[in-house]
């Protein structure tokens, strides 16, 4: 199948998964289950990533700017960098590594054991039953995880700045708040929704279209992560180009 064929297949898959009758009474419990697995379950690793993003960003910004511009620019640099770029992209990578592979493996195994065919035989829409809750869960969870990472990273950066970098928390927060733009914050959340959608769709698509037995399941898990990471980077660039360039 060529690039065009795969694209058409991908678009059809997205259409079947999202533009179906949602049947919320049956879908909501499965959605909650997936939010628990892929949202709440990702909190520890997201918090861990946030701590190191905050530490590294504060130290690097201080290294680049100290002595050149006033100290509160450290807060400005960390704040804007985390809100616009680091928090959405890092969270996207973390969730892609954790959830896209899990989804691909789970749905791929069901495809291999013909459980999906059984669902179809029973008259259950497999897209609504398997894909919609997973994609929906990531679309809902990603903004929450991004907000958690943003706040944790800024908090950690503020602490390390006041403890080790000779930038008081007041001066740091002055830089963060003075240069804060609602567009940055909302743009980060918009990216989170987009990345959640991409990771969910890729995970489900790679699992749903798996071929070649258990090796195929492994390949599907890998390609789900790789394609999600690649699409996150491409989408991040496109968002920067169309929404953040002057």
């Amino acid at each position: 199948m060529g690039v065009l064929g795969v694209s058409a297949h991908y678009a059809a898959f997205v259409g079947r998964s999202l533009f179906t009758r949602w049947d919320l009474r049956r879908t909501l419990p499965r959605l909650a289950d997936q939010v628990w697995t892929h949202g709440v379950g990702a909190l520890p690793v997201v918090l861990l990533a946030a701590v190191f993003v905050g530490l590294t960003t504060a130290i690097q910004t201080s290294y680049q700017l100290m002595g050149v511009v006033p100290k509160y620019f450290v807060g400005m640099g960390v704040g804007r960098l985390v809100l616009i770029e680091l928090a959405p992209v890092f969270t996207g990578f973390v969730v892609a590594g954790r959830s896209a592979s899990a989804m691909a493996a789970e749905i791929g195994a069901m495809r291999m054991s013909e459980q999906i065919d059984a669902l179809e035989v029973m008259g259950v829409n497999p897209y609504r039953f398997l894909c919609l809750p997973r994609i929906g869960a990531l679309v809902l969870s990603m903004p929450v995880l991004v907000v958690v990472m943003e706040l944790a990273a800024v908090l950690v950066a503020m602490l390390i700045s006041s403890v080790a970098l000779n930038v008081s928390s007041y001066t740091f927060m002055y830089g963060v708040t003075h240069f804060f733009m609602a567009r940055d914050f909302l743009g980060g959340l918009g990216k989170a929704v987009l990345f959640g959608l991409v990771v969910g769709v890729n995970g489900c698509f790679c699992g749903y279209t798996v071929r070649g037995g258990s090796r195929g399941v492994g390949r599907a898990a890998t390609s789900a992560v790789v394609s999600s990471a690649a699409m996150i980077l491409v989408l991040n660039f496109l968002v920067a180009l169309f929404f953040f360039s002057r």
Partner: protein, 252 residues
């Protein structure tokens, strides 16, 4: 974990996310009420360039921000969030300044002063001391446009003539003093020539071949003079000890 408990926790997770997003927005945008700050009102006649959120610096340190600007009759009422630690006095001064000479960014500079402390709620008078480069150039342009080149030339010529006339008397006096100084300098120069000639003569006398030069430069003569001196001292001591040996006085 029971399914219902998980579902409840999931709902809590999502609601907490929404709450965090709202709280984070207000925290990061600086809209969360800071109890370490208080609000101060300052009246200005003009706040050109000042915006809500601009920094407030106390003696050069960032200690607050402009919280609001609103018209109050023919003046502007500026609300300032300022650290409680900053003690304002009756001599406190609020002035709008430019961040740079070329930029249009402004900040509010606060000089606390040393007067008596004021009660909370006092409204201060502010001053716009920002350098507006565009306005300065416009004013300069208007002034230049009002000038008549011919009139300016005539004015300049008159000024130069007056300046030359004014300087004429002092210049003559200065020249007279300069001539007197020149004469004194000539006399001093002649005297110096004479002194130099005398020194030259003296140096001639002291040359190694002259008598004085030999006397001054001979080690042998020095040694002999020293010995003679020592012998004279011995002779004088002997004369003092035995005067009769050398002086014999008899009447008959």
């Amino acid at each position: 974990m029971k399914r219902t408990a998980r579902e409840a926790l999931t709902v809590v997770f999502l609601l907490a996310g929404v709450g965090l997003a709202i709280l984070g927005y207000f925290w990061l945008s600086g809209h969360v009420e800071d109890r370490s700050q208080r609000e101060v009102e300052v009246r200005f006649t003009d706040v050109t360039g000042l915006r809500v959120g601009d920094p407030v610096e106390v003696l050069g340190l960032p200690r607050g921000r402009v919280a609001g600007l609103e018209l109050d009759g023919n003046r502007v009422l500026c609300r300032v969030r300022l650290d409680r630690a900053v003690s304002l006095t009756s001599e406190s001064r609020f002035s709008i300044r430019s961040v740079s000479y070329l930029g249009s960014d402004r900040y509010l500079m606060v000089t606390p002063g040393t007067g008596t402390p004021v009660a909370e709620g006092t409204t201060f008078e502010g001053f716009n001391e920002a350098l507006d480069l565009e306005e300065t150039f416009l004013r300069l342009d208007r002034i230049v446009a009002q000038l008549d080149p011919e009139e300016l030339r005539a004015e300049l010529r008159n000024t130069i003539t007056e300046l030359v006339g004014t300087l004429d008397g002092p210049m003559q006096r200065f020249e007279g003093r300069l001539a007197g100084f020149d004469r004194s300098l000539g006399r001093a120069s002649d005297e110096l020539v004479q002194v130099a000639a005398s020194l030259d003569t003296l140096a001639g006398l002291l040359c190694p071949n002259s008598t004085a030069g030999r006397l001054l430069g001979s080690d042998e003569l020095y040694e002999e003079l020293r010995k003679t001196n020592l012998e004279l001292q011995v002779l004088l001591a002997d004369i003092r000890a035995n005067p009769k040996r050398y002086f014999k006085v008899s009447l008959f």
